[in-house]
Symmetry: C2
Subunit: 116 residues, 2 copies
């Protein structure tokens, strides 16, 4: 049984970042932002990972572009982004994309391609 | 100076996967698929990372949905996906999304929000 997925269309914010070696305060702020985002209107979920080389990808999912814009205006979120640029990141790219199709597979589904 | 970004709209394939502990052949196939994808028509780039917990996110970027469909039909790519389900993955989710906006920032740009 595959995990529940929201029905497209919905929106993805793809945030790719290269961290600096400096860590001070990052983990606490990141954890706080995850909790704060999850409480926002239109939030559908997020997936995040970072490799040993400091390259991270976080994708958050939202019902509408207006939900993304509202979260972007959140003052605590704005302050965290400012700190990120001042302290934690070497570079990042942010993309807003409209999810048009989604498929999930898990082992108990068998080995067939879920898209066929 | 921020890295070059293609002008939206273009398309993103967001592939989130949970790996099993078993590694046999995975790295070689993954490397081969990266090289093969890069040679496809309409390929714009990709970003990939995996954390110590086995959760990975790969986002590849394409000019059109037709380019994505063509890459999906590639027989060597199909065989690699079959092997992935048989051997390497516990679960995965794949989303196709239309990139509508994109921003990049790097340290030498200064600390201002690149979206303002």
């Amino acid at each position: 049984m595959t995990p529940d997925l929201p029905e497209p269309p919905y929106y993805a914010v793809i945030f790719t970042s290269q961290r600096k070696a400096v860590q001070d305060g990052y983990a606490d702020t990141a954890e706080r932002m995850v909790a704060l985002a999850a409480a926002q209107h239109g939030y559908l979920g997020a997936e995040s990972t970072r490799g040993a080389d400091g390259l991270g990808i976080t994708v958050s999912y939202w019902r509408t572009p207006e939900d993304i814009a509202r979260w972007r205006r959140d003052t605590e979120h704005q302050a965290a982004r400012d700190t990120g640029r001042a302290r934690w990141y070497e570079r990042y790219t942010l993309r807003v994309a409209r999810v048009e199709r989604a498929y999930a597979w898990e082992r108990s589904d068998g080995t067939q391609d879920p898209q066929t």
